[in-house]
Amino acid sequence: MRTRVLVAMSGGVDSSVAAALLVERGHEVVGATLKLWGGESDSGCCSVADVEDARRVAQQLGIEHHVFNLTEEFDRHVVAPYVGAHAAGRTPNPCIECNRTMKFDRLLHRSDRLGFDRLATGHHARVTSGRTGRTGRTHSLRRGVDTAKDQSYVLSMLGQDELSRVLFPVGEMTKNEVRLHAGRLGLRTALKPDSQDVCFIGSAEGRLGFLGQRIAMHPGEVVDGAGNAAGTVEAVELVTVGQRRGMGHGGDGKRRYVTHVDVAARRVTVGGADEVTRTGVFLPESSLTWVRDPLAGGARAVAQVSAHGRPIACTVEAGDDGSGLMVRFDSPQRPVAPGQTVALYDANDPDAVVGAGIAA
């Protein structure tokens, strides 16, 4: 069947090849690049150079291309919450919020209104569909074939409604295969480096520069578990629980880690590796999303707590008052900073995402 597909093209190699694969499969394909950030940034998915790359690739593929200006909504739904979370001492993941509110909400709705059957992106992840009962099909979200480039973590908040309408064409390929394919087609993005960091923060200004223009940054004192002074930090708002960088070594010569951040008191507490570990993380009810069925209390699962973090075997339990989810790790782990997303995978099928939540 000839499907009408809107493909989100960032100007990178993955979405270029995603568009190319869809064209090769005979679909009716239209490319769209989101202009998300009106501020100055030399990186990420909204610079003029990236839009030009996306447009040129679309031309090379012989498909239509459009630029959608979502700067105002991006500012409201991604940048402002990012800044607000940092002000509150949390560590948000803006890429996940962008996927949640921009690509798989605003853009997906736009794709529907314009009569497209599917929205495609260049994410390294897979959607598989199976028949359940007589009611119809259910969709699973799985890790991309290239485990090193897998992006299922940043998509872990998607549910059946979204998964039934999206395509991730490069999820079946390794990054190397993607680049080779782009090279064979002569696409100008074939050798383009992977994007790094937060797209709306320029590499020169950095997080400190970006946030410093938007919220007050406060120097803070660093203390050890006994309350003894152990140094200072430039901006307590940028310190993350579990962080090692900049915390030096303790009197015993061992590395120190951030165990607690108190933005109001402008105090960072540090401790040794043994003091920083945690046996679990709590995910409040309001943050929980499920690909299909919620995990029952006592269920086994595999957690991933950062974009390219290691899988962590765990058991989930209902929160104390029956609300939310307590994720208990099998072995002690570095702490999950408040605001970070925890993606949960199926214990028996560890490539399959079950759901996600945001650490309290």
Partner: protein
């Protein structure tokens, strides 16, 4: 996707008129020299250039010596605004630029650039109809003013400005100041010799009236002191250096001759098409409304329409996919639509402006174009409408 094209974006560009293409081809076919040289091929080139200049001058009701060929309307605006501001800065140590709030970016950004080098830049407000606020103009004018930029007609809405009032107000209150008008949009329909009478500088762009892209002109009245923006061999009476584009000038002149010849008939015909499009669209889409209030003078080809609840980005994509070409306003460097400063200046809210689109008809628009738009737009607009 479709191959059938209904072109309703003449305010962005009009297709090259065949006669202009032929004029350019005939220039290209001759072995011409550089028009500044002295040998016969150079002199032939110079003759063709001056013939074209005569035509442009006639069109604008000016002396040929006033016409400076430029690369287009943007360069004309830059030269007018920055050229006079720089001359004033050098002569008097200060310059004051006034520009209406609805000017094309070529003027707005030139004014902004002047501001960065110490020029006092002020914006002149418009009313809800997009017409310059004459009281505010009168209050802002002073003997310190250098140049006042008020466009002949707006590119987005087509609203025609009361240029004669502007000129007389400036003469009374700012006797040393020059008036510049960006006549790029008005040129296809208005008699600029009449409308821009008494204006010190007039900017034109050839591709808006069926001439080639890449050439335009700035008329500079005698007595206007203007510092060149582009330095070099001193062409165009030392106002714009660079080897002149003889073929482009010939194409522009040919297109202008046709515009002048066809003006009365084209104005009546295009106004008729536009009015039918307006009436029947509003009848079929009763929840839409014209952006410009009734009673405000608008160019014959423009219809600016607000479709509340519709996102213009989506409407443009949907219309484009069936070959209906309209515009949603200015784009930024990336090609994304920008919020319209013109609609904002008219006091139109961001939500309403988000659903505003421009249909613009031109010399080759037909009844079939209008029929096709009427057959397609109402259904698509309804399907994209979000009820809030």
């Amino acid at each position: 996707m479709t191959n059938e094209i209904t072109y309703l974006d003449h305010a962005a560009t009009s297709a090259l008129r065949p006669e202009a293409a032929a004029a350019m081809a005939s220039v290209h076919e001759r072995k011409l020299g550089n028009p500044t040289g002295s040998h016969p091929p150079a002199q032939r080139a110079r003759a063709l250039l001056e013939e074209a200049r005569d035509e442009v001058a006639t069109f604008l009701g000016r002396d040929p010596g006033e016409i400076v060929f430029t690369s287009g309307g943007t360069e004309a605006a830059n030269l007018a605004v920055l050229g006079t501001a720089e001359a004033a800065l050098r002569a008097r140590g200060e310059a004051v630029v006034l520009a209406s709030a609805v000017e094309h970016p070529a003027v707005r950004e030139s004014a902004k650039a002047a501001g960065l080098v110490g020029v006092d830049v002020r914006e002149l407000p418009v009313d809800h109809g997009g017409v310059i606020d004459r009281d505010a103009l009168a209050r802002t004018l002073s003997s310190r003013c250098t140049v006042i930029a008020v466009m002949t007609a707006n590119n987005e809405t087509g609203v025609i400005q009361p240029l004669a009032d502007v000129v007389s107000s400036v003469r009374r209150r700012a006797p040393n100041a020059y008036v510049f008008t960006d006549a790029v949009q008005a040129a296809p329909f208005l008699d600029l010799a009449e409308v821009t009478e008494g204006v010190d500088m007039v900017g034109l762009s050839a591709h808006k009236f069926g001439g080639p892209v890449g050439i335009g002109a700035l008329a500079v009245a005698p007595g206007v002191t203007l510092w060149p923006r582009q330095h070099g061999g001193g062409q165009e009476r030392e106002r714009r250096s660079g080897t002149q584009d003889v073929a482009g000038a010939a194409g522009m002149a040919t297109a202008l001759q046709l515009v002048a010849k066809e003006r009365t008939a084209a104005t009546a015909r295009v106004t008729g098409l536009r009015d039918r499009l307006t009436q029947e669209l509003l009848a079929a889409v009763p929840w839409a409304h014209r952006t410009v209030p009734d009673g405000v003078a608008v160019l014959p080809g423009h219809l600016h329409l607000c479709l509340p609840g519709v996102d213009r980005e989506e409407l443009l994509v949907a219309l484009g996919r069936v070959g209906i070409c309209v515009s949603g306003g200015s784009s930024c460097a990336s090609g994304a639509l920008e919020p319209s400063h013109v609609l904002a200046a008219m006091g139109i809210g961001a939500d309403t402006a988000a659903g505003a689109v421009r249909f613009s008809l031109g010399y080759d628009s037909t009844d079939e174009d209008v029929d096709r738009a009427l057959a397609v737009v109402p259904g698509l607009a309804a399907s994209l409408r979000r009820t809030v």
